[in-house]
């Protein structure tokens, strides 16, 4: 027998989500949304239980999780940094911001810093094209960001950590 170890909170979260959606396989994406929202990410064990509860294969669940960029199997940093890579932001220099964040944080896009403070991701059009290029840290939006400001943005959060 294979055992899947998980915290009681995670188990309850999955159970609640699945039961709210009547254990329906076609509600998988909604269930994953709910679990990720509560747990922050979707570790393998969580996907295993979801598969069990919905009586579907875990390969299929992972097939879905890995298909959609919104779902993550890595815990996000305390301060998730997202750079808008919509066209409007791109033509206004978003690429330079990505380079600069990568350089400053020494991580690649899709990674989290070792101390778990920052994670870096790109997203497609936040819809604030008037403020391009856009950087989001958590829910906070920074508009018309220049490469030079990158350092300041990072240190703003580093300070608050101390």
């Amino acid at each position: 027998m294979k055992t899947i170890k998980l915290s009681s909170f995670a188990i309850e979260t999955v159970e609640e989500a699945c039961s709210d959606f009547q254990y329906r396989e076609d509600e998988l994406i909604n269930i994953l949304h709910r679990c990720q929202h509560k747990l922050g990410y979707l570790p393998a064990e969580v996907q295993e239980i979801i598969a069990q509860k919905l009586q579907m294969s875990v390969a299929k669940v992972y097939g879905v999780v890995s298909f959609y960029s919104f779902f993550s199997m890595i815990p996000q940093g305390k301060h998730p940094i997202s750079i808008c890579m919509g066209t409007a932001c791109y033509v206004r220099g978003a690429e330079k911001l990505v380079d600069e964040f990568k350089r400053q944080l020494r991580i690649d896009v899709g990674e989290t810093t070792q101390d778990g403070n920052f994670s870096l991701s790109c997203l497609r059009c936040v819809g604030a094209c008037g403020l391009a290029p856009i950087v989001m840290v958590g829910d906070k939006v920074y508009g018309r960001v220049s490469a030079k400001q990158v350092k300041d943005i990072i240190s703003e959060y580093q300070k608050s950590m101390v």
Binding site: V126, A128, L131, G143
Partner: protein, 129 residues
């Protein structure tokens, strides 16, 4: 809220509401001194429309003025967010752009009270059906 039973009732409801809230200018006899709409789409909120909205309410309350302040969707002028539309009695609505807390207070004190425009008016160059 009660259910609208048929088309006739819906028409009646519309006519009633039209008088009550639809008016873009403020009808005579109303004790409202201005109607304010804050564009609160994602772009507006990203630019700080929530703070603007709060600042407008706080200032109106501080001055104890009867101003109707509501939220609305995107007005389309993303380059000038946050945008705020102000309608004074018997006048065309004016849209102000880049309204931060400071300018929100200014709009109430200068435009709504004194009728003076402040810089940064966003001309409305569209017709709506």
């Amino acid at each position: 809220m009660t259910k609208v039973k048929n088309l006739e009732e819906l028409v009646k409801l519309r006519n009633k509401l039209k008088d009550k809230i639809q008016v873009r200018t403020i009808t005579e006899g109303s004790d409202l001194i201005a109607r304010v709409r804050v564009a609160m789409g994602t772009c507006g909120i990203a630019s700080g429309a929530k703070e603007t909205f709060e600042a407008l309410i706080a200032e109106a309350e501080r001055l104890n003025m009867k101003v109707l302040i509501t939220t609305t969707g995107c007005m389309g002028a993303c380059y000038a967010e946050p945008t705020v539309e102000v309608t004074l009695p018997n006048q065309d609505p004016i849209v102000f752009g880049e309204v931060d807390r400071k300018r929100a207070v200014e709009i109430i004190n200068e435009y709504i009270i004194k009728g003076k425009l402040i810089d940064g008016v966003v001309p409305q160059n569209h017709q709506s059906i």
